[in-house]
């Protein structure tokens, strides 16, 4: 007998107390929890910005017309020069200046030699301060946002879901997803939080919000 059959047989034997005609849906799963830990009328963009900043990421807010300047300002503040870009990142958003842009395809050692990366996102989650990447438009494959030490991520206000249940409902589970909440961090040494172990040590998030016409 294969181990598959053996294990499934042991599972069935172990569940002798379960009536043979019981189906999974007969075991009730109450879902009385809230869909979102926000109140109607809450400013999700502001909440998202506050919660992302709580993780010691840097959050910038701008409207569409200020986006290119915001990218330039964030990169200048970090002193990063050599940047990886997803294949389909919109060129129109790129500032001119001292930066060199390296578009995919890039080998992993090439990524390792670059300072940072600039990408779009698939979604934001306001309550948890999370950015979700699904390797879709303007995001590149997963290594791109992992190997370089700095990640600048652009999230549009309309992409921000209130909370985890809403966000999961918007996402496609068949795509590889990465939920990012702040920069890479560890608390393994005497519980002292240190930002930056293996992933990007710094995370900048630019929130593009049409109701927020402040330019950097």
């Amino acid at each position: 007998m294969s181990s598959r059959e053996a294990i499934l047989g042991r599972v069935r034997a172990a569940l002798a107390d379960v009536p043979v005609d019981e189906i999974p849906e007969d075991v009730p799963v109450p879902r009385n929890y809230r869909r979102a830990h926000t109140a109607p009328g809450d400013d999700l963009v502001t909440l998202f910005a506050e919660r992302v900043a709580d993780y010691r990421a840097t959050v910038h807010r701008t409207d569409e017309t200020g986006l290119t300047d915001a990218i330039a300002a964030a990169l200048t503040a970090r002193g990063v020069r050599r940047l990886a870009l997803p294949r389909d990142f919109p060129s129109a958003l790129l500032p001119s200046g001292p930066w060199t842009w390296h578009r995919e395809p890039l080998e992993v050692p090439d990524l390792d030699a670059l300072d940072g990366t600039v990408t779009l996102a698939a979604a934001g989650i306001a309550v948890t301060g999370t950015v979700v990447l699904d390797t879709g438009a303007g995001q590149g494959r997963r290594a791109l946002t992992l190997v370089p030490d700095h990640h600048l991520c652009i999230v549009y206000a309309e992409q921000i879901a209130a909370d985890v249940p809403d966000a999961l409902g918007l996402l496609d589970p068949t795509r590889p997803l990465t939920f990012v909440s702040g920069p890479s961090a560890t608390s393994d040494i005497e519980l002292d939080r240190v930002e930056g172990v293996h992933g990007p040590r710094t995370l900048d998030v630019i929130v593009v919000d049409p109701t927020h016409p402040e330019h950097p």
Binding site: R4, R10, A14, Y33, R34, V164, T174, P176, T186, I189
Partner: protein
């Protein structure tokens, strides 16, 4: 590592809990480290859990999802196998540790590689995978910072979430300086004990591994039956490195980690980070469904591990322990764990959940002291995000241990005799009165400042670890008789 159960279940074979705990209690540094760690995480967890005013509803849903899964585990495992296979993955079934280790070894061999990078995983620790791979000439590199510390020190993890919590920064610095060079890139000269510097040394040491590794091994926090999606929750990014850079990914997962639907993750992704690290969300959560062309591993293998889980499932009281999502909230609220630390439990699963899970996975006869490693205070039940009634399972397993011991012994134990004598005395008012008067006299003779430190005879073992209040000079019954008869006489 011994294997008393004789069926491939790994048990660390350290001394029984009472002996190990006695040694741990003497280590004042350990107790100070643990107290600081557990109280810090405890406070953070309470703060972020109280942000959610529906915390109890989330717990109820999580418990119900786990109950539905357990009662129909065969259905969900078959569904998971189908969906993972349809998405381009390969599913393997392992009855026990030996079989899981053999499967992983063969998969690594097939790639022609002799090294693997690993994400912290309780399942692979449980089966002793690293040791097995070493025996087969394959080096497994732990890439979680705490697991790296444990591996470099040839040590054992002492906590599910923060495995190296028993080590302070100076010990870690010395370890990095002495050992990193044996495994790869050495620690930089003049390394200090600043946590940021230590983390940076680990980053540099491990980066060359990540960039060259061809095979990665992980565990799984969840696997979704209806979509075939596997989930790893982490903080450092080492998980993301292992999951995306090497061309082959092997995931070893306990069969209880399956959840029915993608939607169910909305419950667990709210409960797990808040219960575990006390964060609203952990820095990185990765999900993947089979393989994706041009992104991540080209080959994905999912090893479904039984290793004692079906035995646990067969116990209708004990099976609820399989709902555990390994958040470690129960460790951080446990007065026993806080004083003894994780090593005393002799298992990769320490603390309250270890005290109920380990004996079931390895057989109660092989971990008979663990169900007693608790005060039954119930704090673990309150903290558990999936509402495992740990005290109920502890009491149930204690009964199993006692029954087993009774069945094996011809002569009754001192405990059994004491209980029998107590039953006789408590059943007779006259005998109780005599016993109380005797105890009052004897107790006063033994007591120092109202406390009895050590009891005589067979009670010594019980009194080794606790003081007993001296019996009062006058029993309540005597007092009652005196006062009541006076009052009645006044009427």
């Amino acid at each position: 590592m011994s294997d008393p159960a004789g069926r491939g279940v790994v048990w660390l074979g350290s001394p029984a809990f009472p002996d190990a705990a006695r040694d741990a209690l003497k280590d004042t540094q350990l107790r100070a480290n643990l107290k600081r760690a557990t109280s810090t995480i405890r406070d953070k967890r309470l703060a972020v859990a109280s942000e959610l005013d529906d915390w109890e509803e989330l717990r109820t849903s999580a418990a119900a999802i786990k109950k539905r899964t357990a009662r129909h585990l065969d259905h969900y495992l078959v569904q998971l196998e189908e969906s993972v296979t349809a998405a381009g993955g390969t599913v393997h079934w392992a009855s026990d540790a030996a079989e899981a280790n053999r499967i992983v070894t063969e998969l690594v061999r097939a790639t022609g590689e002799r090294e693997v990078v690993k994400i912290k995983s309780m399942a692979t620790q449980e089966i002793g995978l690293n040791e097995h791979l070493a025996d087969e000439g394959i080096t497994a590199y732990e890439t979680d910072l705490a697991e790296l510390i444990v591996q470099l020190g040839e040590d054992r993890p002492s906590h599910i979430l923060v495995p190296a919590i028993h080590k302070n920064r100076t010990e870690i610095r010395d370890l990095f300086a002495a050992e990193m060079g044996h495994w790869g890139r050495p620690a930089p000269d003049g390394l200090t004990d600043d946590p940021a510097e230590l983390a940076d040394a680990a980053r540099r040491h491990l980066r060359e591994k990540f960039l060259t590794a061809k095979v990665a091994v992980s565990g799984a926090n969840f696997a979704v039956a209806d979509t075939g999606t596997v989930v790893v929750v982490e903080s450092e990014g080492n998980g993301r490195m292992c999951l995306t850079l090497p061309p082959t990914l092997i995931t070893v997962m306990g069969i209880e980690k399956v959840v029915p639907t993608w939607t169910d993750l909305e419950v667990f992704l709210q409960l797990l980070p808040r219960s575990s690290t006390g964060e609203r969300m952990n820095p990185y959560t990765s999900t993947w469904t089979g393989t994706t062309d041009g992104d991540g591993p080209a080959a994905f293998h999912l090893v479904l591990l039984d290793n004692g889980r079906t035995d646990t499932l067969a116990d209708t009281v004990g099976r609820q322990a399989l709902a555990c999502i390994r958040c470690s909230a129960c460790l951080n609220v446990c007065p026993v764990f806080e004083r003894t630390g994780g090593h005393a439990y002799g298992s990769v699963y320490p603390g309250p959940i270890g005290a109920v899970l380990t004996p079931q996975l390895v057989g109660v006869e092989n971990a008979a002291s663990l169900p007693f490693a608790s005060t039954l205070c119930g704090a673990c039940y309150d903290a558990c995000p999936v509402k495992i009634d740990i005290p109920e399972v502890l009491a149930h397993l204690r009964a199993r241990v006692v029954e087993q011991a009774r069945a094996e012994r011809r002569t009754p134990t001192a405990e059994a005799l004491a209980m029998k004598a107590a039953a006789t005395v408590l059943g007779s008012p006259a005998l109780l009165g005599v016993a109380q008067r005797t105890a009052a006299i004897g107790g006063r003779a033994l007591a120092r400042r109202g406390r009895i430190g050590r009891l005589p005879g067979p009670l010594r073992g019980w009194s080794d670890s606790r003081d007993t209040p001296a019996p009062p000079a006058e029993s309540f019954r005597t007092w009652w008789r005196k006062n009541r008869s006076q009052k009645e006489g006044e009427r």
